[in-house]
């Protein structure tokens, strides 16, 4: 039944007559598939996403349901059949996107490794943000160049670098670009070069 997409099913069920579905789809497998799909995603919220891996930009549909305790359960991720890019198809990476989304391997709390230490410490957000802000200020103030050797105004920070951005949204990248340049950072780098 691999050739019958879920959306085809929905269209056929929308026609309303089981007999039409049966005659077009063949009996047992189609029905079983339909029932299974409906059990899994019935009443679920449908959201749109984009595959997090390469830059083909395959559209994803994600199904979620609110649990009784208020948490959100991710039920399924599949290719979006409406997309002119992927027309519902996904490669092995996109097809396992759910495991990336629901991972027990995540970092869930801020961590700190002191100079020379052989272990991480789990720390609070306030701890890391205060310490990192102080580091940025100290390094910036130590390495900031207002005028170069020729007396030309340069207003740049020579001692801090940043690299990243191919994995997060445009708007986050724009914000990072804006904030980092206001600090005078010039050593800015992204995956595009490497």
């Amino acid at each position: 039944m691999a050739t019958v997409s879920r959306r085809d099913f929905l269209k056929l069920t929308a026609i309303g007559a089981g007999a039409i579905g049966v005659s077009e789809l063949g009996f047992d497998m189609a029905h079983a598939y339909e029932v299974r799909q409906q059990l899994r995603i019935a009443g679920a919220t449908e959201s749109h996403s984009i595959c997090p891996y390469c830059a083909v930009g395959c559209s994803l549909i994600a199904y979620t349901r609110k649990n009784a305790d208020g948490s959100t359960a991710l039920l399924q991720i599949e290719g979006d059949p409406d997309s002119p890019v992927n027309e519902g198809r996904l490669c092995p990476k996109g097809a396992t996107a759910m495991e990336l989304a629901n991972s027990n391997r995540r970092v869930e709390q801020p961590k700190y490794r002191a100079p020379g230490a052989s272990d991480w410490q789990t720390v609070s957000w306030d701890f890391v943000l205060d310490k990192v802000a102080q580091h940025i200020k100290d390094s910036r103030d130590r390495t900031f160049v207002t005028k170069d050797h020729d007396g030309k105004v340069v207003n740049r920070c020579d001692g801090i670098a940043f690299a990243g951005g191919a994995a997060f949204s445009n708007e986050e990248g724009y914000f990072a670009s804006k904030v980092l340049r206001s600090l005078g950072l010039v050593y800015l780098e992204q995956q595009a070069r490497v």
């Binding site: 930009g57 052989s118 801090i160 690299a163 191919a166």
Partner: protein, 812 residues
């Protein structure tokens, strides 16, 4: 990409170089297969296309190609150069296009020359070209002189023709290893593509970029495409397949040292004010028919950016706070960052979704650089080889004084925002899940850090706090800006009316408009966020009215929702599509219809004063010859820095004469290997089941591809007594890996420059962090492939040469 994924179905011929889309971009590859196999041959439906794959390794892409060419890694300039030579020698170029749409007729400075592998202006002491002699020969009015007969020996057409005369089929074969007969088969097929009713696309990936000649490898393909008249047309173009979900978008947003958002150059020391900056940065109008759109609007885009960032603090009186922008004097790219770190000149580094330890070349130098930092901040959803570098195999944590912070960031599915794909389609996504654990959004971490820093400067003072104090944070909650608010800020608005703009044409240089990224102006006009649009293949007849696959109401594409860049060149001088079956845009007598035109929508092409087609260039035409590259105005073949042979074209100038030699400059020992010690050519590649290093955290994918390996040709394996499954050590001058051997027929012997050469291939995805590393901690000590790769980059972009280096292989 000049074009986009679905557009590839429109091609008649597909050249794939430095890429393996069937395995690395499998879903994008469906459009290649539709071009080849779709039985509905007809306008826009493709079918019958041929695919030619030139790659060191036979892959699944090769398996469905019409012709596979085993090419030596890093020699594609010779391949494209040979095709250029064939096209010009046989008069197969698209004559009308070349004459009117490229700089072929323009005359070049009389001091320009090329001799023994060097262009004019070379200074051996500094390994640098003075490019003055690469400019046009200008007339009294400042326009380039031209010869429309294309006969003047100093016109670009004749210079190109002469340059590539040396790229005979014999020479191409001697350099690339491609048998002459195979090369001539390709040349015949490519030669057909200069006809107006034919169109070819060139598709590439990091197999072209990751070389010391990467920029020129791509330019050589672009020159060929221009000669054939294939740029700007559906089914044509130069198309880069990019490898990360938003690598395109955050290039556009300038997380890159040399640009500001929207590809405005970063200002340099000595540029005293905006006018001075624009004078140095913007292209100049050359000739009366050139619109020079980018150059003409450069100041408007810059002032609107500064208004967006500095709001009321950016005034005419203070030159819109131009002093707030840092001025950078030298290259500040990846290799420079780690070079400075090794020298102890870098105090802190922030890594966001990007692991230096695995990504940079020459990992022992990267680890040395990381160890010399005072502090390292890693924002990521998972531990990485960088967050864990201090206890990497072979490191003594007690000796690493770097303070390390690992900040848990949210994942793509835990926040909304747009990703821009390879084809420039900006597609919005929903927040599907709440943050896991205490993870926070990257931009909220930045916003919070920023507020803490601002407070520190307010309380204690410090160096030049003005830009921090005045940076706009006009969000409902400055500690938690919404991505929707940021998308509106990027789009920009009229500051008087407060209304968002629908096009960057409305941006002004008097401070009356703001736009954080002019290239995205139009994505979020008053009527809403167009990146959310979803009129796709559920109704093809309605949603793809031209049949060319533009789907104008699916998401949004920069610039201005244009789906094929430079599309004015898809039609002839009178506005008729070169191929009516595959129209990009066409002139109706009143206006341009089809794709969003790369041209004024009502400019009559028959008007004697109509603009030339390439509106972004100062010349108004495309550049076969360009003075904007640092390593030559015409692409020339140079050997990789580590090569088994001397350059057959000019053995005394074998590799790039201008690639920057970091170790030499820094006084570190030479780290390049020689072919007597390291006789085997190595290249790196990617597998379908993995994406860089992130998928080492996904158990199902690790199960599919559990362990690293080196792929060896059968003949080499025989010489070394190796069989599939044996453990082998691969060594370069810089380091080693120990992985399993995979002996295959996909690699084979090459005969180059009178010598037999073996190539091996190494997938990049493993390291000492992740599911596989936890299963095999002992083995994982020698899995980082960048232990082998050289610390050197492209002469222009400084993109490292990951794809061509020398190794030795031995059984463990």
């Amino acid at each position: 990409m000049t074009n986009h994924w679905r557009d590839i179905k429109n091609a008649d011929l597909i050249l794939i170089n430095g890429a393996n889309p069937a395995e690395a971009h499998p879903i994008g590859f469906q459009w290649f297969m539709r071009a080849k196999l779709d039985p509905q041959r007809g306008p826009g439906n493709g079918g019958g296309a041929k695919i030619i794959h030139a790659d060191p390794r036979f892959s699944r892409t090769s398996a469905v190609s019409d012709l596979y060419l085993r090419i030596r890694t890093g020699t594609d300039v010779a391949y494209f150069g040979g095709l250029i030579n064939y096209v010009l020698q046989h008069d197969l170029h698209h004559a009308e296009y070349v004459k009117h749409y490229t700089n072929a007729p323009l005359l070049i400075n009389k001091d320009f020359n090329f001799k023994d592998g060097l262009f004019s202006g070379y200074d051996a002491a500094t390994r640098f070209y003075n490019v003055t002699s690469w400019g046009y020969d200008l007339d009294g009015s400042g326009s380039p002189k031209r010869d429309d007969s294309l006969q003047n020996p100093r016109c670009v057409f004749q210079l190109i023709k002469k340059h590539y005369e040396r790229y005979t089929p014999e020479m191409v074969s001697a350099i690339t290893g491609i048998p002459q007969a195979d090369f001539l088969k390709v040349a015949e097929m490519v030669g057909e593509m200069g006809r107006a009713d034919k169109v070819m696309t060139i598709v590439y990936a990091v197999g072209l970029t990751h070389h010391t000649t990467g920029g020129q490898l791509i330019r050589s393909g672009a020159v060929l495409q221009l000669l054939l008249g294939n740029i700007g047309r559906p089914g044509g173009g130069m198309n880069a397949e990019r490898g990360h979900a938003n690598i395109q978008g955050n290039t556009d947003n300038a997380l890159s040292w040399e640009i500001l958002p929207g590809y405005l150059k970063t200002p340099a020391p000595g540029q005293k004010n905006i006018d001075d900056y624009v004078r140095h940065s913007a292209s100049k109008k050359l000739g009366e028919f050139s619109w020079n759109f980018f150059g003409t609007n450069y100041k408007k885009f810059t002032v609107s950016l500064l208004k967006s960032w500095y709001g009321n603090a950016a005034t005419k009186q203070n030159d819109f706070a131009f002093d707030y922008l840092p001025k950078i004097a030298e290259n500040a790219s990846w290799l420079t960052i780690f070079d400075r770190a090794m020298k102890g000149q870098m105090e802190g580094l922030m890594l966001e979704g990007m692991t230096a330890t695995s990504i940079g070349p020459d990992v022992s130098q990267i680890l040395e650089g990381l160890s010399k930092l005072k502090w390292l901040v890693v924002l990521d959803a998972f531990p990485t080889t960088s967050s864990e570098f201090w206890h990497a195999p072979g490191m003594d944590p007690a000796a690493v004084q770097t303070e390390v912070f690992l900040l848990p960031a949210t994942h793509w599915i835990e926040k909304d925002g747009a990703f821009t794909n390879s084809g420039r389609w900006v597609q919005w996504k929903d927040q599907v899940l709440p943050p896991q654990g205490e993870a926070r959004h990257d931009h909220w971490i930045f916003a919070d850090l920023f507020q803490r820093l601002k407070l520190l400067y307010q309380q204690h003072g410090g160096k030049f706090p003005d830009p921090l104090m005045h940076l706009t944070m006009d969000y409902a909650n400055p500690l938690r800006p919404e991505l929707d608010e940021l998308a509106q800020e990027m789009n920009g608005k009229d500051l008087k009316s407060g209304k968002r703009l629908a096009t960057f044409v409305k941006l002004q240089d008097d401070g009356s408009t703001a736009a954080g990224n002019w290239l995205y102006t139009g994505m979020y006009p008053e009527k809403g966020n167009l990146a959310k649009r979803r009129d796709g293949v559920q109704d093809i007849a309605k949603n793809d009215p031209t049949g060319m696959g533009f789907f104008p109401n699916w998401a949004w594409s920069w610039p201005l929702n244009r789906r094929v860049m430079y599309n004015r060149a898809s039609a002839d001088l009178e506005g008729r599509p070169w191929d009516p079956k595959r129209a990009g845009i066409k002139w109706t007598g009143e206006k341009w219809v089809g794709d969003v035109p790369d041209y004024p929508s009502k400019m009559n092409p028959k008007d004697p004063k109509a603009w030339a087609p390439f509106i972004m260039n100062g010349e108004g035409v495309a550049r076969l010859f360009s003075n904007s590259m640092s390593d030559g105005p015409i692409p020339e073949h140079y050997e990789p820095m580590e090569s088994p042979v001397k350059n057959p074209l000019h053995p005394d100038v074998s590799s790039s004469p201008v690639a920057f030699l970091y170790d030499k400059h820094a006084g570190r020992p030479d780290r390049f290997g020689t072919p007597d010690e390291y006789p085997i050519v190595a290249t790196t590649y990617r597998l379908t089941e993995h994406e860089h290093y992130l998928t080492q955290q996904v158990r199902k994918l690790v199960e599919l591809q559990p362990e690293p390996f080196v792929e060896l040709p059968e003949g080499l394996a025989q010489e070394k007594g190796l069989q599939t499954g044996d453990m082998v050590r691969v060594r370069s001058k810089r380091g080693k890996i120990e992985v399993r051997a995979l002996v295959s027929k996909r690699l084979g012997p090459l005969h180059v420059a009178g010598k037999n050469v073996w190539q091996v291939g190494i997938p990049i995805h493993w390291g000492f962090v992740g599911v596989a590393a936890e299963m095999y901690p002992e083995k994982a000590q020698h899995w980082l492939v960048n232990a082998l790769t050289p610390f050197v980059g492209d002469a222009n972009s400084r993109t490292p040469e990951f794809k061509a280096f020398l190794v030795q292989v031995e059984k463990v």
